[in-house]
């Protein structure tokens, strides 16, 4: 996450202000105390040939050093063992503390970190604060965090509540940027009203030498949106048993699209939102329950969907409702099939392996990482989702100018054959490649990869 100098200027001007005043204002006192609930976490994503640093803000959940990070703060495609060297900082203090990654929660994908014990006395858990309901037009303030070279200096930000919308979780929008993502938002009285969310893309028109350009801009380290504290606090769960454990709910519907108003009205669903299902994964709970492609989902557990603004929010709502349920729970899904209403009972199962959990192996001598094929690859590669064989392994990484690269192997390719022999399972490919790479007299070998609708025969040199 970049922290531009912009933040620095705001800081300087604010600090100048602080110095000019004679005594601490009530807000300043609150600020000094509230920043003790925000921690900056730094870690690396280790890749085949490099490491990428990431810096995110989190909040203190308890008095044992448990920190909550936003759902998008840790890239979800990275295997947990590639997340390295978690460190914690107190805003405004260069001292480095160690931290440990604990994993993400099954419903919202937020991440947990625990900081070292020596840091705990300097932190204040958010449970110490009164939770307030922000009102339209109300003045709110939040904590901004500057860049690393400024020691993550905390700074004060202020705005007013512009609107509050269910998307589907309640999101507050402020009139200006009011906090750094992952930091906190308060009322003037000191009640906690929100947890700062991701910055919005703001549409702007740029005029350069008389030419107009449409541009989307956002300040990456400041945001005007925040989760409403009262609702958010209720959804904060405990960290998972282990960092890699993942038992998210799964039903196997693919390509969910909200119906637009005209279509909904045409189908007799005038006052509500509804969802079209594009595909159903084979062997999934939805398939077993008899849900079909092109069914229109209209209700969940007997309750028709609300009409959300924008309409597509209904898809997030549906997905989130599934995510909140437990494995084994039965969902009663109301659908419209060829105009006829019917109910389908779907039993939630545990989510199949994700790409980041898939087995993978880097073959350094040829510069190639292969990864086990997972169900979601079917969707990302645009393959029919109603097949259930394992069609090969995925090329996850190709090192530039390596032998694999020169041969024309590309990241995302599906390896279907090695040396003319069809391969499907990951272990089969690994042992085959190991065998080939161990041979000292081999000059080259040949793989068959699938790429879009075509295949390619590629010769990988071993010289």
């Amino acid at each position: 996450m970049t922290k531009p100098l912009f933040g620095f200027f705001i800081c300087l001007s604010l600090f100048a202000g602080f110095q000019a005043s004679d005594a601490a204002s009530p807000i300043e006192e609150l600020f000094e105390q509230r920043i003790r609930s925000v921690v900056v976490i730094e870690f690396f994503v280790e890749r085949e040939i490099d490491r990428r640093p990431l810096i995110v803000n989190g909040v203190v959940l308890d008095d044992e050093g448990l920190i909550l990070l936003p759902e998008n703060s840790v890239p979800n495609w990275v295997p947990v063992n590639k997340l390295k060297e978690f460190k914690a900082y107190i805003p405004g203090d260069p001292e480095v503390f160690t931290a440990e990654y604990l994993g993400s929660d099954r419903s919202y994908g937020r991440h947990f970190v625990r900081v070292e014990e020596s840091l705990i006395p300097r932190l204040v858990p958010i449970s110490e604060y009164k939770v307030g309901e922000p009102l339209l037009g109300q003045a709110i303030w939040g904590i901004g965090i500057a860049a690393k070279d400024l020691d993550f200096m905390p700074f004060f930000m202020r705005a007013e509540v512009s609107t509050i919308q269910p998307l589907p979780e309640l999101i507050g929008f402020a009139t200006y940027e009011v906090a750094s993502p992952g930091a906190l938002v308060f009322s003037d009285g000191g009640s906690m009203v929100g947890w700062a969310s991701t910055p919005l893309n703001m549409e702007r028109i740029l005029t350069i030498e008389g030419k107009r350009y449409k541009a989307y801009m956002k300040i990456p380290d400041q945001t005007s949106t925040f989760y409403i504290a009262s609702e958010w606090m209720e959804t904060v769960s405990d960290p998972p048993e282990s960092p890699d454990s993942y038992d998210a709910s799964f039903i196997g519907t693919v390509g969910l699209n909200a119906l637009n108003d005209e279509v909904a009205e045409h189908m007799g669903l005038a006052d509500q939102s509804a969802i079209a299902v594009s595909e159903i994964l084979n062997d999934s709970p939805a398939k077993k329950a008899g849900l079909q492609e092109r069914d229109i989902i209209t209700s969940l557990d007997g309750e028709s969907f609300n009409r959300y603004v924008p309409r597509r929010v209904v898809v997030s709502y549906f997905e989130q409702e599934i995510a909140k349920r437990n494995i084994g729970d039965v969902l009663n899904i109301g659908v419209l099939r060829n105009g006829e209403p019917l109910d389908v009972e779907v039993t939630i199962e545990s989510h199949p392996k994700l790409a980041r959990q898939a087995d993978r192996r880097y073959f350094e001598s040829i510069g190639l990482t292969i990864r086990e094929f997972v169900v979601t690859d079917r969707i990302s590669l645009g393959m029919p989702s109603n097949e259930d064989d394992e069609p090969g392994v995925i090329v996850n990484f190709v090192k530039t100018n390596s032998n694999a690269y020169t041969a024309g192997v590309k990241s995302g390719d599906l390896i279907k054959e090695i040396e003319g022999e069809a391969v499907s399972s990951f272990s089969q490919v690994v042992s085959k490649l190991e065998e080939i790479l161990e041979m000292t007299d081999r000059k080259d070998f040949v793989i068959l990869v699938g790429r879009r609708s075509e295949t390619s025969v590629l010769r990988i040199s071993l010289e």
Binding site: L259, V263, E279, G339, S453
Partner: protein, 451 residues
């Protein structure tokens, strides 16, 4: 190869008719005569054609070049200059007389088209023109002097001079002619004679004024990298265009790769074999069990040598020239042994189907061809593809956008364009809301077209 473009047609506003002073290159009279005769056979072609893009039927205009090749006024030009969508074609002769012309035939695969002057009109007006003769592109050698003649940027009758830079250039072309595939069956003559937009369809000639190629494309942003279709290819295609209006080709569904560097691996005899890189699903080759990584050694006892990229187009052309529905016997090397595989050819189809615009809907569509369906892994070639919408018209308001496939209309499977035309006819008589089901990247959504 993103920069490789067919020479764009030149906008009519660029028309700057300069005086046409021309001097032949040679010194001897016969050479001079031949070249002057050639100059008199090069024409400027102004075309207005229908465009179905953007949800409406429009007329677009362009300028290109061409060369008259017979006394009955048959002109060879590029497929991207004149297409079957041409509404009117006007040819400006060397003597600055304008004559209407009609399209005889069109072949986007080689980017060639044939048009014929309205001879009745020419005769009535007593117009005269000369016609050029083909030279043999196979006799060209790199370094040999050649001339490009045409209408670059609307500058009629421009001659530029250069040499043959390469006689056998291969490049793959993803962009094609408005999506139509091109360049599969021929290699190209490369020249450094200046070729600019508007040169398209004009001849590349030798010093004696014989047509050795048809100037077709250039590298945008590069200097003096021009490409022409060799006369060997052009002569054959022209005959088909004159007699049948099209070139029928056979298709078996293998996508060749180059064997280069793999010969040792497959233990092949020297200079033999074509690597099967991919097999189109559902194609004849697929049906008889040809597989990627098979090596085709021979076709109907003809040995095949596909080691280098420039050797691939002639092989494709060889397959294409087998009669449609005939059986080809392939000797195939697989896992060290050789086996014969017989494959029955089917007719080669373009990925681009017929296009149409439904004006009241503001919707442009294209028929889904079998080739498009295979390429995009569609379950069938049913439905039609959206290629454009006009803003604030019913299709746009309903949320239809290019690359959507309309799969159902009013809960009924849509077979193809003809069915949609029928439905549009009903709509015109009695406008009513229409429910459309669309699929895009395997995602289904529903849209309502409202009058």
């Amino acid at each position: 190869m993103a920069l490789l473009r067919q020479i764009p047609l030149c906008g009519a506003f660029l028309l700057l008719l300069a005086g046409c002073q021309t001097t032949g290159p040679g010194t001897s009279t016969s050479v001079r005569n031949g070249f002057e005769r050639l100059l008199d056979s090069v024409v400027r072609i102004d075309v207005r054609e229908t465009s179905f893009s953007g949800g409406t039927t429009r007329i677009v205009a362009g300028v290109g070049s061409g060369v008259i090749l017979s006394e009955d006024g048959i002109i060879l030009t590029n497929a991207h200059v004149v297409s079957p969508r041409a509404v009117d074609i006007w040819v400006t002769l060397a003597n600055l007389e304008r004559v209407p012309a009609t399209l005889l035939g069109w072949d986007h695969w080689t980017d060639l088209a044939a048009v014929q002057l309205d001879m009745a009109d020419a005769d009535t007006r007593g117009l005269r023109f000369s016609y050029a003769a083909f030279g043999d592109s196979d006799d060209l050698i790199p370094g040999q002097t050649v001339f490009a003649v045409g209408t670059p940027h609307g500058l009629s009758r421009t001659v530029t001079k250069g040499i043959i830079s390469n006689t056998n250039r291969y490049f793959s072309d993803q962009s094609g002619i408005n999506g139509y595939e091109t360049g599969y069956f021929n290699t190209w003559l490369q020249t450094d004679a200046a070729i600019n937009p508007g040169n398209s369809g004009g001849p590349l000639v030798d010093e004696k004024g014989r047509v050795v190629g048809i100037n077709t494309r250039t590298y945008l942003g590069a200097e003096n990298l021009g490409f022409a279709i060799p006369s060997r290819t052009a002569e054959v295609v022209l005959q088909d265009l004159i007699s049948k209006g099209e070139v029928e080709r056979s298709y078996i569904g293998i996508v060749p790769g180059v064997l280069q560097d793999l010969e040792g691996y497959y233990a092949l005899e020297a200079n033999q074999g074509l690597l099967v890189n991919s097999v189109d699903p559902g194609s004849p080759a697929d049906q008889v069990g040809l597989r990627p990584s098979d090596i085709v050694l021979s076709i109907d006892d003809q040995e095949i040598d596909g080691r280098f990229p420039e050797q691939i187009p002639p092989i494709k052309n060889f397959i294409a020239h087998a009669p449609i529905g005939s059986e080809l016997e392939l000797q195939v090397r697989r896992n060290g042994s050789t086996l014969p595989i017989v494959v029955e050819t089917e007719r080669l189809l373009s990925r681009v189907g017929e296009e149409w615009a439904f004006e009241q809907w503001g919707l442009s569509v294209r028929e889904i061809s079998r080739a498009y369906a295979r390429e995009n892994r569609l379950e069938s070639d049913n439905g039609v593809l959206v290629i454009g919408t006009q803003s604030a018209f019913p299709a746009d308001k309903a949320g239809l956008s290019p690359r959507d496939i309309i799969s159902k209309v009013n809960n009924k499977e849509l077979k193809g364009l003809d069915e949609l035309k029928e439905l549009y006819g009903e709509y015109e008589e009695e406008p009513d809301s229409i429910l459309m089901e669309t699929v895009r990247n395997r995602r289904v959504s529903f849209k309502i077209l409202k009058p």
